[in-house]
Symmetry: C2
Subunit: 293 residues, 2 copies
């Protein structure tokens, strides 16, 4: 039994590592990216190049997309030049972009009308998780399709869960981002309070980082805040995109999320102050009055 032809659209920091793992596993791989240069390493390692997303759709059995914003997803998938209209019969598309749950359902339904299967499967674990092939993958779609693509997802994921029907993967990712959003305020506020009270914030961490206040962000991002390291592990601009999707989805469900709204307001202030391309831990600067540094 020959392996399916895999397509990968979106060779960014995450996509490059993920596609590399697919190649390592022996799958035939075809890639497309807006900037060809970013795909060079993969091409040197044997991946085929496609000049358009449509060309990927025409040739591949399983196509993975990992692009930036919901509007990019919409543009690539829909319309006469889109992936779905130009797919091989029976092809499977997996959108791993963090995107809108509503859009995920729309892609699924549009695909179904054309005999094409679509799954949503956003990830968490960041660039390090992608490099190590240890991403958490939150999938939404049909169970049989999930089983079919699982060997491919296993190339770069370790905690792979089918959360429910189309959109459920995106909804689960929103839960993840919602939990992080308010916690980032708490972590920044705790560290800003520590500094303002004249404490040694590093020493405060030794008291609080392992108890009831313990969190990934407190252990991993607070030390970066204190060291003034605001380099992006996760970009503020992307976090704002995610919070916006979550807020819109919550509004559609008549759910009020005041913590999320407050966090979004603060991050919007950071973006307005020129910090969109910094890491999410830079929110700390808003509390220490140094957003203009």
């Amino acid at each position: 039994m020959s392996l399916p032809q895999i397509g990968f659209i979106g060779i960014g920091v995450m996509g490059k590592s993920m596609a590399g793992h697919v190649l390592n596993a022996g799958y035939p791989l075809m890639v497309y990216n807006r900037t060809k240069e970013k795909a060079r390493e993969l091409l040197e390692r044997g991946a085929l190049w496609a000049d358009t997303p449509t060309a990927v759709a025409a040739r591949c059995d399983i196509v993975i997309t990992m692009v930036g914003y919901p509007q990019d997803v919409e543009e690539i998938y829909l319309g006469s030049k889109g992936l779905l209209a130009n797919a091989k019969p029976g092809a499977i598309f997996i959108d791993m972009t963090t995107s809108s749950p509503m859009l995920a359902r729309r892609l699924y339904e549009t695909g179904a009308k054309q005999g094409v299967k679509v799954m949503d499967a956003p990830v968490s674990g960041g660039d390090i998780g992608a490099r190590q092939g240890k991403l958490s993958i939150m999938a939404g779609g049909d169970a049989a399709v999930f089983q079919e693509v699982l060997p491919v997802l296993n190339c770069f994921g370790t905690n792979i869960v089918l959360q429910g029907p189309a959109g459920a993967g995106q909804h689960t990712k929103m839960c993840n981002q919602i939990a992080i959003a308010s916690n980032m305020m708490g972590v920044c506020e705790a560290m800003a309070y520590a500094r303002q009270a004249g404490l040694d914030p590093q020493k405060v961490l030794t008291s609080i980082a392992t108890g009831a206040a313990a969190s990934f962000s407190l252990s991993n991002l607070a030390p970066r805040m204190l060291a003034g390291d605001m380099a992006p592990g996760f970009y503020i601009k992307h976090f704002i995109k995610d919070m916006k999707i979550a807020i819109e989805a919550a509004e559609e469900m008549s759910l009020k999320l005041p913590g999320l709204l407050q966090a979004k307001t603060l991050y919007d202030q950071m973006a307005a102050a020129g910090y969109a391309d910094h890491g999410t831990q830079a929110l700390f600067l808003l509390y220490t009055g140094r957003t203009s540094v």
Copy 2:
């Protein structure tokens, strides 16, 4: 060298376990509590009873207090019938109540004028940590005094850090509570979103509880929320007390903490709805529209 006489004022859930460990370590122990009945087990195990806090002060070398609110601390320590005015010369007082950093400094200064040493040393770890003798202790005060009381604190603590001068222990505890406050919103909002979106919240936890959204509250309190178990590990009324202290202290330092203010507003709503004696995880009910259940 004979062991110092230890006094313990405030035999609640926490105090009972802590005093028991002091007794286990072989220290002579004298106890006072408003309700004598709660001290019965300790008395049966050899602790001496004192009819008033003043009687404890008159007899003990090291006195630990673990009471409810800052006003209780003020009442027990200050005034002509207070601990400080009736202390043995050179006695050491350790207030382990979560209380105001400003009050902690006032007790320290008042004590110093009377030749008495005062430390603030609030704890985290809850009833389970107290029972297991594994509390985190965040101390403020003089380094020499800290060294002197360390053997006693070691009876029930494992992560014992002198954070700085008088008040620094309370300030550190505030950092802990500030981090928890916003995170509780994030955890509740993530779980409320999951439920509203038709996901299986338990399954969502398997995707998100170990990644970037990971926290003590997500792993330990979210499952209780989902199971409808709102029994107090930590009372909403005590959490509100702590947040109030933190907000006042932050205001004195001209520090704005919007996440904390938002969390306090939500918990105040819970208290107003009759949930003051429930656990902090009951905040979930506010998001699911079931505060009146």
